[in-house]
């Protein structure tokens, strides 16, 4: 950061012009231009380095140690990672993460569907839109509670409804094959609402002339949606994709509230498993937890890299 300088600008309105002018100005002025961003950035950057960047590095480091969180850490090299390779609970968590990643993406088409459904101008539609968005505002803790009652094997609404159509009682959260899907369904509820709002805004910005032109060409319904509307919704889809992926990989609250990882660990995901190993009732394995976190981080890194790359492309294209 010390070598912060005025870079030669490549935009039409910045950089080069400023640099040219400022070279004729006093030393102080140019220096001020260098100093100002430094001062503006300092508090935020320091905070962020201290609380986010360094801890990431620390976690990497910690993953090479055995540490119970109380005594002195003991260096064990790759031992934690070697154990991970052979840990069935880790494998289960990894698979569940994958399920989360794939199924959570359903929020995008579902959100689009609801947005299309609601994109009308009838009386009271604004209120309807906000009420549809409602689940996103509620904390996941409450969503988790609500859904665990919904699934409850003795009195849950789900079984009541299944009973009406003559289907047997299901214990969604007690069944190791169903439990993850049950939690994902709960997670999809607020996430769909989020995607819906993104698409509603996106639909507002759709170019009416293009739609009319396509309509004159005879396009309608699904064809119109696919060839004209969805391409125009690209920015909304991109944001929806990013937030959904991140949401899927971070999933913790719902699992912790609804099943506590159970039954017998079948609904764990990496983020929950690492919490369990490191900080839960019986977890005293900070190093092992850190190793799990590192794996999760590396998975996430693929998406972060993709996201940064798209932003970079965007940025290159000028403002």
């Amino acid at each position: 950061m010390a070598e912060m300088k005025l870079a030669p600008g490549n935009g039409p309105e910045t950089g080069s012009a400023t640099a040219l002018r400022s070279s004729q100005d006093s030393w102080l002025r140019r220096n001020r231009q260098t100093l100002a961003p430094l001062l503006f950035l300092a508090p935020g950057v320091i905070f962020f380095l201290f609380y986010v960047i360094f801890p990431i590095l620390q976690s990497f480091n910690l993953s090479f140690y055995r540490w119970d969180g109380l005594g002195d850490p003991q260096f064990i090299g790759m031992e934690n990672y070697r154990e991970l390779m052979d840990d069935r609970a880790f494998e289960v968590s990894l698979w569940n993460n994958l399920k989360w990643l794939l199924l959570y993406l359903l929020a995008i088409p579902a959100g689009l569907f609801i947005a299309l459904f609601l994109n009308q101008t009838v009386t009271g539609i604004r209120l309807y839109k906000s009420l549809f968005f409602f689940p996103f505002v509620i904390s996941q803790v409450v969503v988790g509670l609500v859904f665990s009652w919904f699934y409850d094997p003795t009195f849950g609404l789900l079984n009541q409804v299944l009973g009406w159509v003559g289907l047997g009682p299901l214990n969604v959260l007690g069944d190791p094959t169903l439990v993850t899907y049950g939690i994902i369904a709960a997670g999809l509820w607020p996430q769909t609402a989020y995607c819906m709002i993104l698409y509603l805004t996106g639909l507002n910005a759709v170019d009416p002339e293009q739609v009319e032109a396509a309509r004159l060409d005879g396009a309608k319904g699904a064809k119109m949606l696919w060839y004209v509307i969805i391409p125009q919704l690209r920015p909304a889809t991109f944001v929806a994709f990013v937030v959904t992926i991140i949401g899927a990989l971070r999933s913790f609250d719902l699992i912790s509230i609804m099943t506590n990882g159970g039954p017998f660990g079948s609904s764990r995901v990496l983020s929950f498993y690492m919490f369990e190993k490191a900080l839960s009732e019986y977890g005293f394995r900070m190093g092992y937890g850190a190793a799990i976190a590192v794996v999760l981080f590396l998975i996430m890194l693929c998406f972060i890299a993709y996201f940064l790359w798209s932003m970079y492309q965007d940025d290159k294209g000028g403002r």
Binding site: D68, L70, G71, G174, G265, Y282
Partner: protein, 416 residues
Amino acid sequence: MKTLKGTVASLALSLGLATAAQAELSGTLKIFSDMSNPAPRAVMEGMAAEFDAMHPNLTVELTVIDREAYKTQIRNFLTANAPDVANWYAANRMRPYVSAGLFEDISDLWAEPEIADALASTKGAMTLDGKQWGVPYTYYQWGVYYREDIYNELGLEEPKDWETFKSNCQKILDSGRKCFTIGTKFLWTAGGWFDYLNMRTNGYDFHMALTNGEIAWTDDRVKQTFANWRELIDMGAFIDNHQSYSWQEALPFMVKGEAAAYLMGNFAVAPLREAGLGTDQLDFYQFPTINPDVELAEDAPTDTFHIPSGAQNKEAAREFLRFVVSADNQTKINSGAALGQLPVNSNSSVDDDEMLNQGFEMLSSNAPGGIAQFFDRDAPAEMASVAMEGFQEFMVFPDNLDDILNRLEKTRERVY
């Protein structure tokens, strides 16, 4: 001379000069407690208030933390934000904090005659590495709490042996009920079943050796325990969907008469009575003999108070511990109207309560095999968590047993 002086001092301290000590105590006494269920909470608040009133210059600050959450939070506050007194559990469950030097050695307190004599029976559970690290405040029996009225209706007797246990269960099943309610969502309840089945099948010493990691989980004797367990599972003895319930959520099954019994600690009695079960509806029996060659042994978990090493007001904390274990207070807080459990002080009286009398009788005269704490207190934390998860899986999918035992064995090899 010096020793004499020391003795006199400690005598003076221990013999009370209680009034003097009381007057001196000042400042704040910070207590963190996990007694968050309604009845224990009232007891804890009562003790804090009483101690506060006894010491005018001392302010008692009580923080009650949810019992489940407490188990994860204790290590944070012990290292960072230590109170003067904290709740915890006896035996191996103390080990991480003792090894890390986070609990104060209070052997001095245990050297005081009042405590040394009156609490002798629990000293073992509080001792690690030859020193004492806390005081107990209550203990309670485990056993089978059952619906007396249902048993009478079906003409059943309290079982003394495994065959009767099973034939009773079959009759209960035939009447359209389940034999046992249980909620295994938080795993430990299944640990209780394992404790009893294993202690009855293989005996106390074997059980202790197993929780100490000296015996392989794939051992045939362990498999025998699970085979016995499986007989009950295959009969359909346990309620369905138990993996979705906490122990409290499993209570209504017994209250509504959908299940006839509950293997639980005595703390289940209070909510059961509160829910409306009367004395003629609720009774208790000792878990029956399975293998006649082993002596009966019991689970009787001890709950405790400790002084963190980081405590600020250790003097007041010690005085509070003395107060907690004193005979009068023990009688009071363990009475049926309060905790409804057993006092740790031998000079206290056990409340005249049906369950407590039976429990006290059972523990003092019919548990020759020995007294265990509980699975997750006798086994190290990590082993306990993996094992209890395996128990839960076994109760749902008994066919996975071999797989589960191999997993436990792998964990055992790594943990110990």
